[in-house]
């Protein structure tokens, strides 16, 4: 498992680290140059630097998503799967190494974009609390009075939703793998189906909680626990397909 993680991180790091480097270097120098733009007619400069930042942030987001799909699909179910599935490691290890690596890069990409935006505003860290409240407020205002609790809840929410999101992608690709043809289309349809199902479950549980007049922490705990439970279902689907229905053609 550790060896698989090392290998997987090595493969993906060579793509992500340079990109993070470019983003953060751009944001750092852009932040330093920001006061110059204000003292001179710098509206165009300001527009350009935010456009470049936006483009880099979008590129990182898209690349993170693409690599999450590609590392699972090509490395396990494509030609490289011939190597991965002949290594003396279990399907659990293969899935977990992909899951942990993809989740790690999803979170790091978010952090890199967040840190980049802080650097862009010239490192005005005195506004950190306002930035956090603005960024995290929509999730749940429950712990606003206690920043630590709030951060812990945010971290748990982020981990739960990241794991669920990645596992939903893996389960969708695995469902597509059950077909003899049109695997990509079936995977996409499975993804849409899973998404619709989990949205319905979420709405239904919110309705029930509203009806019962549940306390605010229950909403939060249900969100985290429900996300992990759904993730577990996606994990089991993926593991079952890779163990009992593997067909590398």
């Amino acid at each position: 498992m550790v060896k698989l993680l090392k290998y997987e991180l090595g493969v993906t790091a060579r793509v992500f680290l340079p990109l993070y480097g470019v983003l953060l270097a751009f944001c750092f120098f852009s932040g330093i140059a920001a006061p110059l733009a204000i003292s001179q007619p710098g509206v165009i400069f300001s527009g350009v630097r935010f456009a470049v930042f936006f483009a880099l942030a979008v590129a990182i987001s898209v690349l993170t998503l693409v690599l999450t799909v590609q590392r699972f699909y090509e490395n396990l179910l494509g030609c490289e799967g011939y190597l991965m599935f002949t290594l003396p490691v279990s399907s659990h290890s293969l899935i977990l190494s992909k899951l942990l690596t993809a989740s790690c890069w999803l979170i790091l990409s978010g952090l890199a974009v967040g840190l980049g935006s802080l650097l862009m505003i010239g490192g005005q860290l005195s506004h950190l609390r306002e930035v956090l409240e603005y960024g995290l407020g929509p999730i749940n205002p429950l712990f606003l009075d206690n920043l630590w609790l709030y951060l812990i809840e945010w971290l748990a929410q982020t981990l739960s939703s990241t794991l669920r999101y990645v596992l939903m992608i893996y389960a969708s690709i695995s469902v597509g793998h059950l077909m003899n043809r049109n695997r990509a289309s079936v995977s996409f349809m499975a993804f849409v189906g899973f998404f619709a199902l989990q949205s319905s479950l979420r709405s239904l549980s919110l309705l029930v909680l509203d009806y019962l007049g549940a306390a605010a922490p229950i909403y939060s705990l249900l969100g985290i626990g429900g996300g992990l439970a759904l993730g577990a279902v996606y994990y089991l689907i993926t593991h079952w397909v890779l163990t009992h229905r593997l067909n590398l053609e």
Binding site: C79, G81, F85, L87, N180
Partner: protein, 239 residues
């Protein structure tokens, strides 16, 4: 000696069937292969050679029946003792050979890095080269070297010399002979029967997903009065 007698056959197939959709690829294969043999798995295109090898390697799941390696269904335990060479490039082509050897050494306890380095040297391949900068034939040589540098119980070699130039084929075949242990079994599938015939001890002919001949190479030659290659052409010409 007693220990060897009690060892199960290295490969057993019982009523092994594989369907791709409604199309049958293997139809009720029954096979028992002992240890310490070099077996030629021979048949025309689409006869089921690759499917059988993939089932043994655990890359496909049988539709019916079972395949046993060393007495066990393909699993983590069996994969540690099976060295499989597919008929396509399956290694990350962005990696250089040094890194690939590191990967094999990390995961396969039976990988002999020294032996791999020696073979690369003999074939004039630079270990610092990336796979993607090599010709297809050289990539195939590298894959074969990595696979044969393991001390496995069972080698599954699917078209190991198909893309390799005739000049290097002799070396590759010698490599196969020199690198497998006496109690290991090598299953070798190829269309180039004349090239591999000198090393074959057992011959399996497969047609439409069924084993139609299973015989020792010497017995086959004695019985037919010709080579395995000639008999193959005769059997499959009328098909």
């Amino acid at each position: 000696m007693t220990e060897q007698i009690h060892q199960p056959p290295i490969l057993e197939c019982h009523q092994l069937c594989k369907f791709y959709g409604s199309r049958p690829a293997l139809q009720g294969i029954d096979l028992v292969l002992p240890r310490g043999r070099i077996v030629g798995l021979l048949g025309p295109n689409g006869s089921g050679k690759t499917t059988l090898m993939k089932l043994c390697a655990g890359l496909l799941t049988p539709t019916r029946g079972e395949v046993l390696i060393n007495g066990y269904a393909p699993s983590v335990e069996t994969k540690a003792h099976v060295s499989y060479l597919p008929d396509k490039n399956y290694l990350g082509d962005w990696m250089n050979i040094d890194r690939l050897m590191g990967l094999f050494a990390d995961f396969y306890a039976d990988f002999d890095r020294h032996r791999a380095t020696e073979m690369l040297h003999m074939l004039g391949i630079d270990p610092s080269q990336r796979l993607k900068s090599m010709s297809k034939g050289t990539q195939e040589k590298v894959q074969l070297i990595l696979v044969m540098s393991r001390q496995s119980d069972l080698y599954l070699l699917d078209e190991p010399i198909g893309g390799i130039d005739p000049a290097a084929r002799d070396y590759i075949l010698r490599t196969i002979l020199q690198n497998y242990r006496e109690d290991s079994t090598v299953i070798l599938s190829t269309h180039l029967i004349a090239d591999v015939e000198p090393v074959l001890e057992e011959v399996l002919f497969i047609r439409e997903g069924k084993i139609v001949l299973e015989e020792s190479a010497d017995e086959l030659r004695d019985r037919t009065g010709g080579s395995v290659d000639a008999h193959f052409r005769e059997v499959f010409r009328t098909w």
